[in-house]
């Protein structure tokens, strides 16, 4: 009996099926999109105080430059604006911004607070959705720090739209180069990530190489020939205090790099005809030898978790990349392509290795997975070398040197997609960049 009832109900259900079949929404799948910069409008910030007037347009300018410089955004020229924003609190006339195809709008205001500090606040809008993206933010600092506040605003906008981590509020240490190739003067220098606020740390009397920021951005490791041989030095960026880290007679130490704890340094040392990789505890001065081979092992770089290093070695007959654990074990080769690989640097995200590759007479900057797969060459030129990662792991900066006796070294950056290759603005020739972490 029950079976008959169920069968009857099933038949009734089938009769109702045509109606139910039309009840669902239309479904489509989008699998291909476009890759283009997002149009963004950054009008001058509203002046809340007459004394802050000079900063209103400056800050907006830096924010727009930061966003446009990523290659992910395209600034809409201000001449196209239909209506200016005169009040930070007034409702936004989205129709006016839609009309000029602004998909994102940055509205901000500046004023000088009671304590004399500069206060910057902003809001970000999705114009076509007609709503605000996230909560508005407010920053305050001394007026001299207006550029940093502009970078922080840009970082917040960049992060909210893309989902990537911020990187505008950071600095770059590099070697400033002046003079001809055969008599080049090299000085350590630090600048904002966009080339502003250059500050020289050494005088140029000695050859200096390969500065590397500490994880907190307050110290710099570098190699100097002040003693006639390469030696590793530690400099405090604020006080310029200098300290030699490794002095062993009859040895040469170079290629230092901080570990993620900020206390451990990994470096190369040549002694007794072999070049191996060592670690050094800065506080205690104890060293530990990591590699033991007759080959040249150099250019080590820590993984973000501090448990492994990647380095270059010619133990296989040609210069290749290897990863080894700090706990021991034999190194594992990860590069197998044609050509020579060098100067590996572990991504802050931990998922990629950036490297320099020399193949068929040209140099490349590339990235690969930790197992050597998905190798992608991002650049190609006469001489590209020395990559360094942005704090968010999205951009790589490197040295590009032009050909010829008058060739000059310059800093370039490129997105890890291979797009947005651009030259950094520096007062002089520049090489050996090291990107700092985000400033605090």
């Amino acid at each position: 009996m029950m079976r008959m009832i169920l069968t009857l109900l099933a038949v009734l259900g089938l009769l109702a099926a045509p109606v139910a079949a039309q009840d669902g929404p239309l479904r489509i799948e989008i699998t291909e999109g476009v890759i283009e910069p997002m149009p963004v409008a950054v009008p001058d910030f509203v002046v809340g105080d007459g004394a802050a007037r000079e900063y209103a347009s400056r800050i907006a300018r830096v924010v727009a430059d930061d966003l446009s410089g990523t290659g992910l955004f395209r600034e809409i020229p201000r001449e196209a604006f239909i209506s200016p924003i005169t009040s930070f609190s007034s409702p936004v006339q989205f129709a006016d911004w839609k009309a000029i195809n602004a998909q994102a709008l940055v509205s901000g205001a500046v004023e000088i607070g009671q304590d004399g500090r500069l206060v910057v606040k902003f809001r970000l809008y999705d114009v076509f959705a007609g709503q605000e993206l996230g909560e508005g933010l407010r920053f305050a600092s001394a007026p001299e720090g207006w550029r940093r506040m502009a970078h922080k605003v840009a970082d917040a906008v960049y992060t909210r739209i893309t989902g990537e981590g911020p990187y505008f509020d950071s600095r770059v240490a590099f070697v400033a180069e002046t003079g001809p190739k055969n008599a080049r003067r090299k000085r350590l220098a630090v600048m904002d990530y966009d080339g502003a606020n250059v500050r020289y740390l050494t005088g140029g009397d000695d050859i200096v190489l390969a500065p590397r920021f500490s994880p907190d951005g307050e110290k710099i490791l570098f190699t100097s020939y002040s003693s006639g041989f390469p030696r590793i030095y530690l400099m405090d960026v604020a006080s310029l205090d200098l300290r030699a880290l490794e002095e062993q007679p009859g040895s040469m130490s170079f290629a230092p790099r901080f570990g993620p704890d900020g206390r451990t340094v990994v470096y190369s040392m040549t002694r007794g005809g072999t070049t191996d990789i060592y670690t050094l505890d800065i506080d205690s001065g104890t060293t530990r030898r990591l590699t033991r081979s007759p080959s040249i092992d150099t250019a080590p770089s820590f993984s973000p978790d501090g448990t492994r290093i990647v380095f270059e070695s010619d133990r296989s007959g040609s210069q290749q990349l290897y990863i080894m654990s700090l706990d021991g074990g034999s190194p594992e080769r990860i590069s197998f392509g044609q050509g020579r690989y060098g100067t590996p640097v572990w991504s802050p995200r931990g998922d990629l290795i950036a490297f320099t590759k020399q193949s068929k007479g040209r140099f490349h900057i590339g990235v690969m997975r930790l197992d050597g797969s998905e190798e992608r060459l991002l650049t190609a030129s006469f001489l590209d070398e020395g990559p360094t990662w942005s704090p968010n792991g999205r951009v790589i900066m490197f040295t590009r040197e032009s050909q010829g006796a008058d060739g000059q070294a310059s800093l370039y950056s490129v997105d890890i997609t291979g797009r947005n290759l651009k030259r950094m603005r520096t007062e002089t020739g520049a090489s050996d960049p090291s990107w700092s972490p985000l400033l605090r």
């Binding site: 009832i5 099926a17 009309a99």
Partner: protein, 372 residues
């Protein structure tokens, strides 16, 4: 004897007699020329018997020498550059040295050219021999295209000026009461659909385009979705009926609860679905998304108006796959922008099938657009 015989005999005798004696066989006299003959001397005779010189062929003219350049270029230094230059210096000659015999070669009469009346011989043809084909050959020159079109064609439409705002070209209508101001057509710049790094850029010598036929586009998956939906929807009432019969269903099926929502009209054709998909993907900009957001698939629901415009407030996230909360939000916002931006002027959808597309679920799958 007839008289006729006599007459005939007499006539023949007379004719024979005339031929014999009348001079009928006498030869015709030859014409006769008369000239004067005189005695000549031996010198005149020798002169008459000496053969006349054969007319000489003109000697081969010497190749014209180039005019002397007054600005004589300096001589290329050689190994004998240090040796004194040879010159005809009379003072340098040794006294008593006999003069050299003058060179009269230039004065001697050139040898007469031999005249030959025979026909010139054809140069011998080179012997035929088999040769290997060259390794390379010149590419055949393509046939030039006709410069003049056989039929006049209309000039192509001018490109729209690049601008942020997309607007149609408008020309004033003279017949209108209030003529509109002329307006130039503008459109935003076209977007790229793939990433080409500097290292991957093709060299200038490489062909820019490939003659390979394009790959056949993947079959739209929407075709397979309809039967699946039908099957699923068919299964639902059965399940609902069964559950209801078994007392396990707390709520009635949605279809039963909203019978008035049943769409009318035929379903959208595949072309109409594809048109909507292409329209949305033209605005789905993944260039500003993070790697994590590019690894996230989101399903976005939207309600549409009869004019084909999306209801901005109805755009909602239905589901996601493959990303964290932050990445899902960024992926959803990019999808929402795509739906709203490209639908701001209304999607081209058949109004008579409005009930079919009043509610749409769009799955944004960025697998092909990921950073690899």
């Amino acid at each position: 004897m007839h008289a006729g015989h006599y007459i005939s005999g007499a006539g023949h005798l007379g004719l024979i007699g005339w031929l014999l004696w009348g001079g009928g066989f006498a030869p015709t006299p030859e014409p006769f020329e008369v000239s004067e003959v005189a005695v000549i001397s031996s010198e005149e005779y020798a002169a008459l018997t000496t053969p006349e010189p054969v007319p000489q062929a003109a000697p081969q003219p010497a190749a014209p020498s180039p005019p002397e350049d007054t600005d004589t270029p300096p001589e290329r230094p050689t190994a004998d550059a240090d040796a004194p230059p040879a010159r005809d210096d009379p003072e340098a000659a040794q006294p008593g040295t006999p003069d050299r015999a003058p060179d009269v070669s230039g004065l001697q009469r050139p040898a007469p050219a031999e005249a030959d009346d025979s026909s010139p011989q054809r140069p011998a043809a080179p012997p035929e021999s088999a040769t290997l084909a060259p390794d390379t050959s010149d590419r055949p020159t393509p046939r030039p295209a006709p410069r003049v079109a056989p039929q006049p064609v209309a000039p192509p439409e001018p490109d729209a000026r690049v601008d942020e705002v997309r607007q149609e070209e408008r020309t004033p209508d003279e017949g209108a009461d209030t003529p509109a101001e002329p307006q130039e057509a503008t459109a935003p710049e076209a977007a790229a659909t793939e990433i080409v790094t500097e290292a991957e850029e093709a060299s200038a010598a490489a062909p820019r385009t490939s003659l390979r036929p394009r790959a056949r586009p993947a079959a739209p998956q929407a075709v397979a979705e309809a039967p699946q939906d039908d099957a699923a929807d068919e299964a639902d009432p059965i399940r609902a009926a069964l559950e209801e019969a078994l007392g396990g269903a707390d709520e009635p099926a949605p279809s039963a609860a909203q019978p008035s929502d049943a769409p009318a009209g035929p379903p959208l054709s595949q072309g109409e679905r594809d048109a909507l998909r292409v329209a949305v993907q033209n605005c789905w900009n993944v260039g500003s998304l993070s790697s994590a957001a590019l690894a996230t698939t989101v399903v976005v629901g939207v309600s549409m108006g009869r004019d084909g415009r999306p209801d901005v407030g109805s755009v909602r996230l239905i589901g996601s796959e493959g990303g964290s909360g932050e990445a899902v939000n960024r992926a959803f916002e990019a999808a929402r922008r795509a739906i709203i931006v490209c639908g701001s002027s209304g999607y081209d959808l058949p109004e008579d099938k409005y009930e079919r597309w009043r509610d749409i679920e769009m799955t944004f799958n960025p697998e092909k657009m990921r950073i690899k």
